[in-house]
Point group: D4
Chain length 216, copies 8
């Protein structure tokens, strides 16, 4: 009774509720996952430390854990029957330190049934890396673009493509990056239309929204 699982959600929203693991014990996470399991479908718990994950998986071996993204998950079984012509969700990130957030987005989208393509370490300080991807970029339904520091990558990507860009600022950086504020503000002020922004380090939210778009 410490938590009210929102069983309506998967009806109302098409997707199941997702557990926010921060500040919950392994036992609490396990109980909510088990309650949700009865409702069927894919499962996801974010922001779970490896210690808690080990504990949870001991009692629920059906699940996987990704240590970089810090998520416990079980992919959507319908994922495999997806029509091959379906457009992908593409996840790009600027630097190699943004990887954990990018992976949280990528796995979220996979759990929700998407085909995901990853293009990492393609920041704007070496543009040739991004420009060489132009052809691949054309086959996506939506882009999750992850960047810390100055957060310029989403603007540049949005200037090259014709579909929605979900920008994710990360807390990577130091000094005047202010834990992701610099990247967040850069993305909110993007001079390229077609960009919307989620919270700092919120890979989950971006992967979720990109999935919604790809499912249309």
């Amino acid at each position: 009774s410490f938590a009210k699982v929102d069983h309506h959600r998967s009806l109302r929203r098409g997707y199941p509720e997702v557990i926010y693991g921060e500040g919950k014990s392994a036992e609490q996470i396990l109980k909510i996952l088990q309650a949700m399991d009865r409702a069927g479908g894919p499962l996801l718990a974010t922001r779970v430390s490896s210690e808690k994950a080990e504990e949870v998986l001991k009692h629920f071996p059906d699940l996987s854990y990704d240590a970089a993204a810090r998520v416990i998950y079980r992919k959507d079984p319908r994922g495999c029957e997806r029509p091959p012509a379906r457009r992908s969700v593409q996840v790009l990130c600027a630097g190699s330190s943004d990887l954990p957030v990018a992976e949280e987005a990528a796995i979220t989208a996979e759990v929700l049934g998407q085909k995901v393509e990853r293009f990492y370490d393609v920041g704007v300080a070496g543009l040739h890396r991004l420009l060489s991807l132009r052809e691949e970029l054309d086959r996506a339904a939506a882009y999750v673009v992850v960047a810390g520091m100055e957060g310029a990558l989403p603007s540049v990507v949005a200037g090259l493509v014709a579909r929605p860009v979900i920008a994710v600022p990360t807390s990577v950086g130091y000094g005047a990056s202010f834990g992701g504020i610099a990247a967040l503000l850069g993305m909110l002020n993007s001079c390229a239309p077609g960009v919307a922004v989620v919270n700092i380090d919120n890979g989950f939210g971006a992967g979720y929204l990109a999935s919604m778009i790809a499912d249309m």
Copy 2:
């Protein structure tokens, strides 16, 4: 030569470039609109004062001006041939003072060829107004949800629907609303997944992104 019209854009992006009117003279706006006219299609200039608009429309009577939204526009001629089954873009706003930003979003989406439905003054302090719209909400492809002050409306809407919510914080409010920061932060921290945020007062950006999604 004060401005380089991005003729590639309508090829690359599917949509034409849009003029940011702030800080440009009526003459400059007119010249860019005329240059773009040669490229054909819908036209849009945002953040244009009524004085400048009057001046521009004198020389280019084909255009319309909306005084609330402060935009000069010509709608997409293809708009009328749109399949009737197509899902709409819905624009909701919390208070009547948010109307200018909501209209900027709505007209942008119309210019880009969407069917737009408006639900205004449905803020969370009187929930019955929103709850009575449930049926209508089901027929949208995407939602633009506009709110100032505490910016709670997008979370509540996202909790009721199954499609993407583009949240637009407005600078409406006083004191600790800090010109829209309170609403912006509220929206970025939405506890309902499926929400992404654009800049404060950026109705244009939200209408543009919602159109991209509705066109998928």
Copy 3:
């Protein structure tokens, strides 16, 4: 002599002084509690770690400790003789991570002699949870509404009820929640009248004020 107990307070204010445990040693907390004991009545010390609490309770076994709320307390003996028709203090919280702050408020009100009702995990992303409580909400004298992240719950509650709402922002969240600033600003900008706000994570202050109101 490191602290001057404000013995006047319980005369002046109706309620006894409460100890702010942060930065005080177990020994100091114990001494102040013993000094206050002589003055009679209920006792409360907030922000006490479990290590310090164990130390204090060893020498003063009459007291209780709540590990979630991190308070040492002894309830108001008059609490039990309270007229049954008396309106309650209700404590609501948005997510299960807000529980420690909600409990600090609830126990404070109980110590000061109130009947307290708790409704937890009823955030705005799943409105049906709150809407199903309408009848219960009608029997309160005052509401303590606790929420982190975007802090929208107090506005929605205030729109449903006819009595004072004391809003408590929590530091639950990450990124642009900025340790509770997002929730704090949301609450200060509530578009529903009848809301006032206390400091981030200040469950104590909210429980105290709600008790004052319920005692009128």
Copy 4:
């Protein structure tokens, strides 16, 4: 149809809806007031300039306008039949420049049927002014305490009385007062329990909440 009057509110909340005049035309304010008039009871519109007020009163001569508080109002007719023993709402302010906000609070409480007592220019730099009021302070149900600059007055008042203090920070000041932030933060951090805070310059919200408390 630019606004949906919340006719439910006066049932749900006990008090009628109040018009936020900022950004509405005189004509819009008049229309909403007329719509509300049909519902009966007291009337209030805040943040109305004198130009708009003159226009509105021309067509609705039954109303009054207060130029300091910038409100249009009609007091609660029931106000006069109030039992004389009823506790008052007291409004205190620190400096003479805080008067407009204090008056907004005072008139709001009067419109909602309260007996209001005003004590102005009693800031903490000259404590004798406040200390000489001790006897008067004892007869209130609730206090609205208004202060700009460092905002210390609510803490000092709360230390002297036994009933709820609603603190209102004002934007009076310059430099590091940051338009009321200094006062707001001071009040949120009050070391005297029994204080809750409303938005900067929100005299209305404080008067409303104090009335709710006095009506208990």
Copy 5:
């Protein structure tokens, strides 16, 4: 005697003192310019309104005024004898609204004797505009890169060239651009080395520093 002209400076620094026009009267600006004229060489006064400039030029017709950059100036007479092989200072800006700041930088560099090349409206939302300039970029000694909104241009330029980039954030933008803070933070966090930043809208400072570098 309201101002102490720093006659040492042109000896110590190689360049003459420059007048900051903001908050000085036309008469004061004129007097300082005349005092400096005796010391010989180029002259520059920044942040001068057109009204003041008209007044000053009436009494000192030898000077020029640029209405966009808001500077009064007389170019370095040695400018014309400069060796033709000398590398230029290049001034780039992202949008056409950044032009006033870009021109302040360009004219400053010209006054200090540099050959200046201007590339305006080459922002990152349409990368082809910048990529087509690659050859021209190779002939500069230093770059002044001016951008508002997200301020991404300096990072992209620095990734393409081998010489110092002086980044100038501008106050162009709205909402979460916060008067240039977004651009400033973006530039300070540039992930491309070889970038340093001056104050928001400080075209003068950037033109000055670029000249120092080009003179080495």
Copy 6:
């Protein structure tokens, strides 16, 4: 009755109350001055516009007005009988735009009976100007050091002298000076001991405190 003159103050504090003119009408200022006149001694009203001052002086011709400092004043008659050996209050400012704040400080100190010496436009970008004053600096009791922009002057002065430095940040500057925040923070972080800071643009407060020190 809009204001309670603090007649106790001149007994308690040694100095009379000073009127804060912002937000008071000419008539209100006049009335308070007249009330204070009965109490005798020097008079001072700060932040008075020239229009209001003209009005006030018409009815109270005994007073003076300084248009730069924006103060109405009557100097302490005892000023002239002061022992000549008494140490002075010295007011230094960094740039000529800081003059209004410096003059507010200087006149305040003169009204309170001090001998004041002014050293203006001696900022740290041209150190020789300050270094040449070393001998004069030795004869002060206290220093008021006024600076905008980076606010470095107080640190440098404090490193040269042996008596208290009262630092006054000014709102002079643009961009990242943030209306005086940069100067304020610089001064609070001064690495030279012997510096304390007053509010941005608060020349009055600094002149008052320096007078207190010089009177010891």
Copy 7:
């Protein structure tokens, strides 16, 4: 050679240089203390952890360490010959958690030769504690007033006394105290003249300045 001891200082300033211990090793602190010892007089090193202090005192047993204030010191030998009529430095603090900062101030003043009186835990929530000190307050030359949370104490003290108040905000508090910002802003905006402020937690700077004043 990692540090240049400023031997001039004690000549220039009257007081010796003081060591800022943060970020220096025990060995470095010891070496600087030994270098200064040769120059004679009192000694002070601030922000020294107990581990480092133990190490230093092992090699320099002549020194003392105060664990609350975290300072190593040797008092001014002249302290004892001070004329008994000399006015004291008084150190007041609001809550018992402010004690470490208050002690840093008090010991600094003692090291510099002052007679120091301490009045702790006299915050504004219980005014009688301060009001009962009025007589004692009259015998000081200067006041160091230390407070966290809302930082109201300096204003109230300055309203009661006739000599300089040096206000020290502390980082004590939580939530919207923002590590001392709330207290800092409150103090900068003090409506009582005669107050100047030092950095958050800078007891040293306040004690030093108060000593300078008391030595006049």
Copy 8:
């Protein structure tokens, strides 16, 4: 494939790519260094802890590690053949706690082939230390000036020299230094022209830019 080494960079930029060690494992850093080694030339990895460095150097003994600066490096072999008349890069810092950042700058410049001169602990509170360096200052091509707290040193240096000053704010300080913001703002607002700023604690970026300038 977790990282794309930018092999183009050393062609495009003249300098090789530099590894940002934060958030990379020892193994990842080693692999990138080995990949870069094939490309020849100098090597640099910044923000590397001593634990990781030990691990890396075990497998790549050709490299050095500096524990203060936290960098792994191999100097430019061409450094030694540099013409002796070449101007130096000078690195100055204000206090001894700024040393790690200063060393990051100095070693970066050395790795890129510069002659570096260091002048440490020459802050503005004791100006004679800086003034005695005037002759040495004349022989530099560019200055890296490192300071925390109020960050005044770059302005003072720029007022004394005729070549570019790269200012580096550090996070040294406490309270209102806000982790380097005070120093950053001070430097951005420098009233001495010829100063540009890099991110807080970004010694690397400053050393890199100074090298670019010295190489012209």
